[in-house]
Amino acid sequence: MRTLFLAPLWAWLTLFVAAPALLIAVIALAIPADTVPPFRLALAPDALIQALTDSFYWHGFLGSLRIAAISTLACLAIGYPMALAIARTSARWRGLLLAIVILPFWSGFLLRITAWIGILRDEGYLNAILSAVGIAKIQLMNTDAAMFIGIIYCYLPFLILPLESRLSSADRSLEQAAADLGATPVRVFVHVTLPHSLPGMFAGLALVFIPVTGEYVIPELLGGPSSITIGRVIADEFFNNNDWPQASALALILLAALVLPATIARRAPRGGRI
């Protein structure tokens, strides 16, 4: 019976996770050629070796990890207080606040990023407001700042939702007990609230960090030219250099690099007991 219930899950994993990854692995081991499709099947490790040893690619990987780390920390700094606040409001308002967090998903991702272009560009809404109140215009489009705004905007809900769900399940009487026994609010937070919320926090951090590392669209549309990201490097290898094996090798390594934090997140303390 259990196998029967799990069958769709396995079918899904095979079709949409294992099969594409295998396809990428096959192409990563092929040799680029002037043919249709532009590679010849082989068992050549050249592209994988190149991907691991070439410093240019390392810059790409490190650039993406830097962006992912900064974005994830920023999401945590903004998202934790929001999640806590939502978890502590009365049930009536909580539903409404959660709905507001989810609301942006009702419109298309590209549409929302394009809307940010309208807000951030030189002649956009933000600068119109700034100049109306007498502040000098700022150039935000095509800068790292715009890219981080876009990423944090898009991924914040992924941090808030699991975190809020964990926080709202907390037993408030434990915090009251700690306070009654003389703990300051900071101590209560550090020793009671925070440890309980860790599983939700780790889930949220992974949900932000992993996709942002592979993020290609937001840096491309909002970001400036100053950061080389692995997403851009892979796109360049694929579209500019027509080197599908090299692009696949990089994608494969990125996939492997992202499985690690996912595994760590899974092993993270399940917490809850004090």
């Binding site: 249709v36 532009p38 030189d122 002649e123 400036g224």
Partner: protein
């Protein structure tokens, strides 16, 4: 030529979809119905021409568009695209598709209107297609400089208006940086022009020449606001950029759009005196096309002088059929940005295919330049 790297994400999505669902456009046709599946640049046809072809021949045209060469190339290289006519730009896509065996040769006997094409231009295409076997010129353009007339007059009144110096000399770029300088995000469209400006061979793949290009571009890198895939039509027209290394067609469209907006922004196009890179969009047939005979019929129709004149009148790109000139609107025919005089045409240059290793060296230099590192 119109937009080389706009929204590569979309290309990737489309490619993924086409790999899963291929062939997208070639749903089985009903028994006797004749169809032809066309895949062309967006906003790049006279709709009346398609109507007329369908009426005159009874062949149904299924028309689909792309906005970047990468979308087109990735689909064709993946195979079984389902299209019967595509319009790749001479370099890099058209020549790469020929080398990959992805295109079918045109049958000159079935396309008599090939004879209408300007022989000089067809011979310029030979650097991409030796023997002119695989394509007919649809429309063409150059890579040059677009600028905002009022901003240039205010910020750099003494800067030359006929030379790459306007953009590539740091003292000029520095002054124009205030109002926004943008470059095409396309190594293949920028590097040959800079080589030409440096007095070197635009086709050079020599590493020292590439280093010279990099140091020249680094000189103006601090003044570049953005590298734009797909051309800066919107940025020039809205006044957000005032100096752009761009395709002629994009600048001409930006000028038209700025005029429509009526905010007094005037955009002009320069074909630099050192020479401008010439690019051709080629009518071609994929090797695995299912309706080759209908495709050749449509190509022949598009090469009729009156049909081609209609297309140029609609999209404001020049064509390569001189006998169509009598039907082209005077304001287009007499615009030196669209139809440059012979003295300017003499300085056009074309580029040939770039070997894979040199392509990679170029794209890395480009990534380094953009990152400023």
């Amino acid at each position: 030529m119109k937009g080389v790297s706009a929204m590569r994400f979309l290309s990737a999505v489309l490619l993924g979809a086409s790999l899963l669902l291929s062939p997208p456009a070639a749903a089985p046709a009903r028994a006797q119905e004749r169809v032809v599946n066309v895949y062309n640049w967006s906003d790049y046809i006279d709709p009346y021409a398609i109507d007329r072809f369908q009426r005159e021949t009874g062949i149904r045209v299924r028309y689909d568009v792309y906005d970047s060469l990468e979308t087109l190339e990735a689909k064709l290289l993946a195979g079984k695209s389902g299209y019967d006519i595509v319009v790749p730009t001479s370099e890099p896509s058209f020549s790469r598709l020929i080398r990959a065996g992805a295109l079918a040769p045109l049958d000159a006997a079935r396309i008599p209107h090939l004879a209408n094409l300007d022989p000089t231009m067809m011979s310029q295409v030979k650097s991409s297609d030796p023997g002119n076997k695989f394509g007919a010129i649809y429309l063409w353009g150059t890579t040059g400089i677009g600028y905002n007339a009022a901003k240039l007059a205010a910020l750099a009144p003494d800067a030359p208006r006929d030379s790459w110096d306007l953009l590539l000399k740091p003292e000029n770029a520095k002054r124009m940086a205030k109002c926004g300088i943008v470059l095409l995000d396309s190594a293949i469209d920028v590097i040959p022009s800079v080589l030409r400006w440096l007095g070197r061979d635009p086709n050079s793949t020599d590493s020292q020449d590439l280093a010279a290009v990099e140091s020249a571009l680094r000189g103006i890198r601090p003044y570049i606001r953005a590298f734009i895939g797909g051309g800066a039509v919107e940025q020039l027209a809205s006044g957000e950029a005032c100096l752009a290394l761009n395709y002629s067609g994009d600048v001409i469209q930006a000028a038209a759009r700025a005029e429509e907006a009526g905010k007094g922004i005037q955009i002009r196009y320069i074909v630099p005196k050192e020479g401008a890179q010439l690019a051709f969009d080629m009518l071609a047939i994929p090797a695995d096309a299912l309706h080759k005979s209908e495709a050749m019929e449509l190509i022949n129709f598009l090469l009729k002088p009156d049909v081609m004149a209609g297309i140029t009148n609609q999209v404001r790109y020049p064509n390569a059929i001189p006998i169509s000139n009598s039907s082209i609107k005077p304001d287009i025919l007499n615009d030196p940005g669209i139809y440059p005089p012979q003295s300017v045409r003499d300085r056009f240059f074309t580029i040939g295919a770039v070997p894979p290793e040199a392509t990679r060296a170029r794209s890395r230099m480009w990534a380094r330049l953009k990152s400023g590192g």
